[in-house]
Structure formats: structure tokens, C-alpha cells
């Protein structure tokens, strides 16, 4: 059977028209849709008819001067229809275009809200591709009809809508070529004859050469500086078309005029009225928003303009924008548009002058200067973005199809952020080249944190080196210059001592000792440690660094048990501390006991006590008395203060803590 009867276009058209109108009146869109769907006929043909009927509806509504709501309903109907596939997706846009073409500007303003409200609809996948060009053309037509100064709000709304509709990288919205608004011409009186303020002169008895001026308008009450006036406004010409600056001749005039104007700004300082008022009133003054679209260039106003801080700011910011453009790399600049060295130098000094002037311009000059700098930086970023061809800002999503499955399965194991990144072969695109580079230096965060370059804690010797030098009485450094007397140094050194030095916990202090004296003592101790460390380091050779590091690392560990001991029993601390100086010396009996108990391990102990290899060999040759000899020699040579601690720790380290317990009365 043949697919369809021939569809009578006109009849169906009127039918659909009625259906739609009824639907609109009753507000029941669904009904229209179903009715249309029920109609006999081929899909394609029906679509055509529906399109046409919808447009007819709009025309009728416009003719009948319908209220905004009706339009809304009709458009809504069309959108629904497009979704349900009874009309083409372009038809809502066509209807909108028709609407705006036919309506007056006042009505359009009201009806535009339909367009604004449905941004999400226009942006949805089905409509976007079909409609974006239509919408763009429609909006541009509207804007062309409007006057920017009369219908500013409406223009703004349209622009806002466009910016919401299109993505950031939409080329047609960008000023790719970095062109300037050359149509913004500032008119001023170049020739004196145009000026209406020539002073009349007495024609009477004077026989000297005085020009005869015409009195067209009453003369100004105060004299006008025409020189400055002309030079000042001529600058606007350069701001309008910065490419002129690359030409040698115009550059000369420009720099000359600019220098003069900046000099006038500089010597004519503004009164900071606002802050004066603040001091008197102590009430917060609201910043009045000032905006003017075009400069007024009458000569009479120049004086007033010079003393207006807003005006000054505008001009100074214009300077900064110009300077930034001259120096910036723009892809579309021609090759000849480059500044010579001399010119760049001048631009640099001028930029500094201008920034200073901005900072001096009240109120809140400093803040303003900062904001301007910030904005110009961002401008540079945008410039670079344009130069790179407007790279898309959308961050690429990591495609991981297994994710949903994994989530259900591996609930127990918490997913770590780092895992995703590690699985993607280590190279991540962060969306911006700079961030990517930074991230890819080391994709594994944990590794990066553990890296050696991140160890910021200095070694004792390095940190105290200077203090040790100063402590030397021969250097005769005055107390006020000594590092140990500076607060910040004191605090930091205490922290370092707590982390690295064994002396921190063994040093007995009479309470209330001033900090610099305490530090002096510590510095001396460290100084004593140092030569022995460095000396033995050279002699030991292998394993020296390990030992040092081991010791360093060991000390914090060892300090912890000691700390606990100390905190446990305060009384014993006091007694221990009191006794410490007396029993700090390792007595002969102790040595003898250790020697007796140590047995064969004396060599290991010797190494631990940092005895030299040759010495140990010598002792060995002595046979039985070796341990005793070694220990005696060690005791004599040991330069570190707390020999007791040293030998104790050495014994514990080699696993002979039993000796420690038996020989020394443990506290």
C-alpha cells in the first residue's frame, strides 16, 4: 500500500494553525502535540506543515499585539514539538527571528526574556548545533538596531545571553586580531581659530602689536594653558591607534607630549580629600560610581579635569594599557611593529612614573595600582591564550570504564587519589601546559615528598657555624651583634637542638638561665663536638657518613625513651641532674668492670666508640689487657663531655645493655 495519501498542504496548515492556537489559549501544549501526531500523513510532510503553521501563529500574534506570555507559550509549544519530533529543530529559532524582526524595540525588550530564560534549552545537545547560528545572527541584528548609549541595558542583556550561550573559545566572540576601536575619536580644538575663548583686547590707544581677537563668546574667567590642552588631547589619538607609535616621527611627538603631561600630573598633586574627611567624620563614605563614555574636551574644563582623581586615573590607565600593548607579543602584529631599545627604555621609565602617579592619586591609590597591575597581568594571559590559538579550557575527563564496576567490588579498599594518576602511565594532562609540566616533574606525590631535596632541617654544624665563630673570644664580636642574642635565632636554634642534639636533654640548667647564655653553652658544646666529628670522619673513611647519620637518627630515637624516663619521675630527674656533673666522669672502676664484662666484643665497642683501626690493631696485639687498655685510652682521648652517655649508648648499641645495667646504676 502506498505510504501516504497526498497531504493537502493548505488544509492541513489551517488545521494545525487552529490546533496550535487552541492549545495556546487553553495552555495545553500536550494536546496539540498529540493531535498533530494523530494526523494522517507522512512524517516529513507533516513536519513541514507544522513548521509553517507555527510561523503563521507567530505572525498572527504579532499582528494582534499579543502579550508576552502568549509568545512564551507558543515558543514553548515549538520546543516541545521539536523534542517530540513533530517539527524541525530549527523552527523555534526561526520563530524567534521572525518575532524580533517584526516587533518594536520596546516589545522586543520584554519578549527577550523568553530567550534568556531558555538558555539551558538552547544549549542542550539537540538544539545547540541547529540553532546557534540563528541565535547569533538574530542577536547581532538586534544589537545593530539598538543604540549603545540609549539602550545600554538591553544591549547588555543580549551580550550576556550570547556569552552564556557560547563556550569560551567561540572564535566569533573574540577579538582575535587584537584590533583597537579606531572609531573612538576624541575631538578637540586643534586650531586657535576654533577656540571660542580668545581674550578681547582693547583696540584703543595702544600702539603696540596686539592681535585683535573676536569676541564670540564671553571670555573665560581664568586663563587657559593651550599648550598643555593641545598636547594632552593629542595623546588620545595615540591611544586610539597604538600602531602609530611604531613610526619614528610620531613616536617622538608622543614621547614629548607624554613627558609633559606626566610632568604636569606630577607637580600638580591632588589633595586627599577623602581621607581628610574620614579623619573628621569617621564614617564610611560610599564610593560613588563614576562612568563616562566619552571625554569632554572643552578648554575650560582642563583645569577641573586635572584636579579630578577619577579623570587622572583613566588617563594613567590608558597609558599603562598602551605600554603593555607596545611590549606584548601579539601574533597578528606585523614584523615592523617592534620597539627599539631606546624606545623600550623610555617605555620602562614611563611605566614606572605612571605607576607611581597612580599610587599617589587619592583615594586608595595603592589598592588601585595593585588592581590595575593584576588586571594587566590577566590581560597578558589572555593574550598568550589567543596566541596559542585559543586552546580549549575544558579539562579532559579521565576515561576509566571499569570505574563503576570497581566501585561496587572494591568497596572495602578506599580508593586513593594517587592511584588513578599512577595507572594512567604517569603522564597527566592537567589542562594547561604549565600545570602539566609541574605535575609531571614527579607524578607520585609520596615519592616527591620523601625526596632528599625536601629535607629542610639543617645539620647542627651548619646552623651553628656562625654562632661558634662568634663565640670565639678572640674574634671580639660585641654582644649586640652575636646571633645568639637575636630572638628569632634563639627560637629556631632551640627547635633544632630539640630535634638533633643529644645535649638538649642532658644539659643541666639552673632554671631561669637567660636564653642567650644557655645558647652560648650549647654552642660551645656543639663546637667541641664538631672537630672530633670532622677529624674522625676523615680518618674513618668508609661508613663515616653512615655513622654520623645513624647517630643523628639514633639520637631522636634514644631521646624518646630518655624523655619518658624524665617525665615519669621528676624527683629522680632532679637528683640525677644534680648528680650528673659528679658522675659524668667514667671512673676507673667502671672501666675495669666494662673491660671485664665486654670480653671479645671489645673490638666492636671500640669501633662504636670511634677508635681508630690502627689503635684497635695495636690493642689487639696486647692480648688480654686489650679491652682495659682500649677503654683507658678511650677515656683519656674522649673529648665529648658526657663520656658516661657515650659509653652507655655505645654499649646499648652493640647489644650489651646488660653491661650497662650491671656496671652503671641505671636511673
Amino acid at each position: 500500500m502506498s505510504a501516504s495519501m497526498v497531504l493537502d498542504f493548505e488544509r492541513t496548515r489551517t488545521k494545525f494553525l487552529n490546533v496550535i492556537e487552541n492549545g495556546v489559549k487553553s495552555g495545553n501544549i500536550q494536546e496539540c502535540v498529540t493531535k498533530i501526531q494523530e494526523e494522517d500523513g507522512g512524517e516529513g510532510e507533516k513536519k513541514l506543515v507544522t513548521d509553517q503553521s507555527l510561523r503563521d501563529v507567530i505572525r498572527k500574534l504579532v499582528d494582534s499585539d499579543a502579550p508576552c506570555e502568549t509568545f512564551k507559550l507558543v515558543i514553548g509549544c515549538a520546543v516541545e514539538g521539536a523534542i517530540k519530533d513533530i517539527c524541525t529543530t530549527t523552527v523555534p529559532f526561526l520563530m524567534l527571528a521572525d518575532m524580533f524582526d517584526m516587533l518594536t524595540l520596546e516589545k522586543s525588550e520584554g519578549v527577550f526574556s523568553i530567550v534568556e530564560d531558555n538558555v539551558s534549552v538552547w544549549k542542550s545537545a539537540s538544539f545547540y548545533d541547529a540553532g546557534k547560528n540563528f541565535l547569533l545572527r538574530m542577536c547581532n541584528d538586534l544589537i545593530r538596531r539598538l543604540s549603545k548609549s540609549q539602550n545600554t541595558v538591553f544591549c547588555g542583556r543580549i551580550q550576556l545571553f550570547l556569552s552564556r550561550l557560547f563556550p569560551l573559545s567561540e572564535r566569533s566572540a573574540l577579538n582575535l586580531m587584537s584590533q583597537f576601536n579606531s572609531e573612538n575619536v576624541t575631538v578637540f580644538n586643534m586650531q586657535a581659530s576654533e577656540s571660542k575663548f580668545i581674550i578681547p583686547s582693547e583696540v584703543k590707544v595702544e600702539k603696540m602689536e596686539i592681535e585683535e581677537g573676536e569676541m564670540e563668546e564671553p571670555p573665560s574667567t581664568f586663563p587657559i594653558d593651550y599648550n598643555l590642552y593641545r598636547r594632552f588631547w593629542s595623546l588620545q589619538e595615540y591611544f586610539r591607534k597604538p600602531t602609530q607609535c611604531y613610526d619614528k616621527v610620531s613616536w617622538k611627538t608622543f614621547s614629548l607630549h607624554a613627558d609633559e603631561v606626566l610632568k604636569a600630573f606630577d607637580s600638580c598633586k591632588l589633595d586627599d580629600l577623602k581621607s581628610q574627611r574620614k579623619k573628621l567624620d569617621k564614617t564610611k563614605q560610599m564610593d560613588t560610581q563614576t562612568f563616562f563614555a566619552k571625554y569632554l574636551t572643552s578648554e575650560k574644563l582642563l583645569d577641573l579635569q586635572l584636579s579630578d582623581s577619577n579623570f587622572r586615573r583613566y588617563v594613567l590607565v590608558q597609558f599603562l594599557i598602551l605600554f603593555q600593548y607596545l611590549n606584548a607579543q601579539v601574533k597578528f602584529k606585523s614584523a615592523s611593529h617592534v620597539l627599539t631599545d631606546e624606545q623600550s627604555a623610555w617605555v620602562k621609565t614611563a611605566t614606572e612614573k605612571v605607576t607611581n602617579l597612580i599610587k599617589e592619586t587619592p583615594p586608595d591609590g595603592e589598592k588601585f595600582a595593585e588592581s590595575v597591575e593584576h588586571i594587566l597581568e590577566r590581560e597578558e594571559n589572555w593574550n598568550n591564550w589567543k596566541n596559542e590559538g585559543c586552546v580549549s579550557y575544558v579539562r579532559e575527563k579521565l576515561t576509566d570504564d571499569k570505574e563503576p564496576v570497581e566501585k561496587t567490588r572494591v568497596r572495602a579498599k578506599r580508593k586513593r587519589v594517587g592511584d588513578d594518576l599512577m595507572t594512567s602511565a604517569g603522564k597527566i594532562n592537567m589542562g594547561s601546559s604549565e600545570l602539566t609540566r609541574l605535575w609531571n616533574i614527579n607524578t607520585d606525590n609520596m615519592d616527591a615528598c620523601k625526596a632528599d631535596t625536601r629535607v629542610f632541617l639543617p645539620h647542627l654544624e651548619e646552623y651553628f657555624a656562625e654562632a661558634i665563630e662568634q663565640a670565639d673570644p678572640e674574634a671580639q664580636i660585641e654582644d649586640t651583634y652575636k646571633l645568639v642574642n637575636k630572638d628569632s635565632y634563639q627560637w629556631r636554634s632551640l627547635r633544632l637542638l630539640a630535634r638533633r642534639s643529644p645535649h638538649f636533654f642532658t644539659q643541666l640548667n639552673p632554671p631561669g638561665i637567660p636564653l642567650n647564655k644557655y645558647l652560648d653553652i650549647m654552642v660551645n658544646k656543639i663546637a667541641q663536638d664538631m672537630p672530633s666529628n670532622s677529624g674522625e670522619g676523615e680518618m674513618d673513611g668508609e661508613g663515616e657518613e653512615d655513622e654520623k647519620n645513624e647517630l643523628d637518627e639514633e639520637e631522636p630515637e634514644e631521646k624518646i625513651p630518655r624523655r619518658h624516663q624524665i617525665t615519669d619521675s621528676s624527683k629522680t630527674i632532679n637528683t640525677v641532674k644534680d648528680d650528673a656533673p659528679l658522675t659524668d666522669v667514667v671512673t676507673k672502676e667502671n672501666i675495669a668492670k666494662i673491660a671485664g664484662l665486654i670480653g671479645d666484643n671489645w673490638k666492636i665497642l671500640g669501633k662504636e666508640l670511634r677508635m681508630q683501626e690502627e689503635d684497635l690493631a695495636y690493642f689487639e696485639s696486647e692480648g688480654e689487657t686489650a679491652p682495659l687498655n682500649m677503654l683507658t685510652v678511650w677515656k683519656e682521648n674522649e673529648t665529648r663531655d658526657s663520656k658516661l652517655d657515650v659509653i652507655k649508648s655505645a654499649l646499648i648499641k652493640i647489644g650489651q645493655s646488660s653491661i650497662v645495667d650491671s656496671v652503671f646504676i641505671s636511673s
Binding site: N189, Q191, A192, S195, F197, I198, I199, S201, E206, K207, M208, E209, I210, E211, G213, P219, S220, T221, F222, P223, I224, D225, Y226, N227, L228, K263, A264, S267, C268, K269, D271, D303, L306, S307
Partner: protein, 338 residues
């Protein structure tokens, strides 16, 4: 060629000591250390088509046979100049006709054969009964002449060193003088007795600057006659005349002020730095406007005509800086003797 180099050297070494506006307000006269007086037209200098030539003098003549002219003042008809010679008077109308001649002259009474005192400052006191001229200078005295008949009416003696500057007080009944001897004396102009009051700024700790000296170079009275402002070696300071004590000082570190005036609630002064200082009366600096001359000797504001209300500054160069907006220098007139 030689002429040219001579002229340029002359210009280089020129110092303009004083200036004065014409009674009509359209011209300004300036006098320099060569004894020349130059007249400039403000109208042409301020016009929109002004160029280099409109900034040159329209007429220049020699006001003093030998020596410099230190002070100029003007009455309705006369331009009076004084310096290292006699006090001479010229008619403005003659000057406009470019044919000035000395109408009358006065000379300081000579105290000795070889003395030839210069006149540093002259002031005209216009009264209904008579117009008087007061002059102070190198002979440490202030002489007062009656201008109608040219008689020396009075001499105020008391200063121990030469007089820098004088000004009038109390509608001409009193006169104030500042001198190199470190005192500011207030005199009764009609009697020849001693000074009524003597102020010594260099002796007060507030104003004294011993490293600069004790000389007082400039003095001015405010409109209400309550305040006196003076400066020089000691700091520029305002004095309350009832109590004769200094009330506020104006800080100019390293610079002695050569000239000071009150103008519309503010104080304008200039001295040994190349800038004109605008102050509030309490001593706060309002603004500093840079000038061409490195030392300033005279500042004048043209109060005759509003359209030509400019502030002009002269000093130790051949340029006269003119400011329309007192905040910055608009242009400079150049004293080139033709």
C-alpha cells in the same frame, strides 16, 4: 658670532630679581642684574596661538645706568624701580609707547663720600592725603618720601644691618621690616622713634636655624593684620602679633626662603630650592611646583584681571615661569634683551 656668544653668556649669568604687573594687568615687567627692565605681554603669551616669539619681551630698556635693579613696584601711572642707583620712576604710558624716560628720581641720603647704598625693597603707600614711598636698603634705614612733592618725610633708624624687605601694616600707619641683623621690626610710620616691636626669630628654638644664619630675608602680613610671616636663615614661621610669639613653622630643610606672600588662605613661598612651595596656614605643605630657576627671588600673582590670573616666578635664571593652574608650570617667558 662673538655677539652671539656674548649674548648667550649674558643670558646664562642673568638673575631676575623682581617683577611687577602693570596697572591694567596685561603686562608684566621684570628687572634683572644688568639693570634692564623687560616688558612682556601676558595676553599674547596666553593666547591659543602663542609660540616662541610671544614669550619674549615686547620691549626692553635700561632702567639703571650701572648696576642691578632689586625691586620694582607700580602705581596707577608709574613704574618705580630701585636698585644700585637712584629710585627712578617711569610712566607706563611712555613705556607702552616704547619711549620711557625718567620722570622723577629720588636718591638715598648719602652718609659718607664713598657710601653708595643700594635699595633692596620699596613699597608704595597710597593714602587719600598723599602717596608715600618707603624704601629700605643698604644703609640700614627705612626712608619715607612723600611722592607728591618728593620730600623725604621720615627715616626709621634702628636696624644694625641692611634691610631685606619691608611691608605695610595697619593701612599704612605701620611698617614692618626684615633685616640682615636677624630682627623683624615693626615701626610707626609717622614718627621717627624707635621700633615699636622687635622680633628675633633666630633666638627662638622653634624657628632658629643657626647653621643657616640669623638673617631674615622676607616678611609679609596677612590681610587681617593679625599674623606676620617671616623667614630667611631661621625657618619660615607665622607670628601672632598680639603675643609676639611664633605659632607655626614651615619646614624647608636646607633652604632659606627668599620670598613669601599670603594668597587666598594659603601661603606661597620660594627660596633656595628650585620649587615654589604652597602651604596651608598651619604649616602643612600643600604642594611643591618645580621651577626653572634654582633659587627664587620673587613670586607674584596677577590679581588685576581674572582672565590673566597667573602666578609668575623669577629667580636666578633668565626665565620667568608662568603658572595658570598654580599646580604646575605652564610655560616660561624668556628675558632676552633685544
Amino acid at each position: 658670532m662673538q655677539e652671539q656668544s656674548l649674548q648667550s653668556r649674558q643670558l646664562y649669568h642673568m638673575t631676575i630679581f623682581t617683577q611687577c604687573f602693570s596697572p591694567c594687568g596685561k603686562y608684566v615687567a621684570a628687572a634683572n642684574n644688568y639693570g634692564q627692565i623687560a616688558i612682556f605681554s601676558l595676553v599674547s603669551a596666553l593666547s591659543p596661538e602663542a609660540n616662541e616669539s610671544s614669550r619674549l619681551p615686547i620691549y626692553c630698556f635700561k632702567g639703571c645706568k650701572e648696576g642691578a635693579i632689586y625691586c620694582l613696584t607700580s602705581t596707577d601711572t608709574f613704574l618705580i624701580s630701585a636698585g644700585e642707583g637712584d629710585i627712578c620712576a617711569w610712566k607706563w604710558s611712555d613705556i607702552h609707547n616704547k619711549a620711557p624716560k625718567i620722570i622723577w628720581s629720588l636718591s638715598l641720603p648719602k652718609k659718607g663720600v664713598f657710601t653708595n647704598p643700594e635699595v633692596n625693597s620699596i613699597v608704595v603707600d597710597k593714602q587719600e592725603q598723599a602717596t608715600r614711598l618707603l624704601a629700605g636698603g643698604g644703609d640700614n634705614d627705612i626712608h619715607i618720601w612723600n611722592m607728591e612733592n618728593g620730600q623725604l618725610e621720615n627715616t626709621l633708624q634702628g636696624h644694625e644691618d641692611y634691610v631685606h624687605s619691608i611691608c605695610l601694616k595697619n593701612n599704612g600707619r605701620e611698617c614692618v621690616s626684615a633685616s640682615e641683623d636677624g630682627t623683624v621690626r615693626i615701626w610707626d610710620a609717622r614718627s621717627s622713634s624707635e621700633a615699636v616691636h622687635i622680633l628675633e626669630p633666630h633666638k627662638t628654638p622653634m624657628c632658629g636655624r643657626p647653621e643657616m644664619g640669623k638673617w631674615v630675608g622676607c616678611v609679609a602680613m596677612d590681610h587681617g593684620d593679625d599674623w606676620l610671616i617671616c623667614g630667611g636663615g631661621p625657618k619660615l614661621s607665622t607670628w601672632h602679633l598680639r603675643s609676639l610669639t611664633p605659632t607655626a613653622t614651615f619646614d624647608t630643610p636646607g633652604s632659606c626662603q627668599n620670598f613669601v606672600m599670603y594668597h587666598e588662605e594659603n601661603v606661597i613661598s620660594g627660596g633656595m630650592k628650585p620649587c615654589v612651595n604652597h602651604w596651608y596656614v598651619n604649616g602643612d605643605l600643600k604642594s611643591q611646583v618645580p621651577t626653572t630657576s634654582s633659587s627664587i627671588y620673587n613670586i607674584a600673582v596677577n590679581t588685576v584681571l581674572d582672565q590673566l590670573r597667573v602666578l609668575s616666578v623669577v629667580g636666578n635664571s633668565c626665565k620667568i615661569d608662568v603658572c595658570t593652574n598654580f599646580g604646575y608650570k605652564a610655560f616660561s617667558l624668556k628675558f632676552v634683551p633685544s
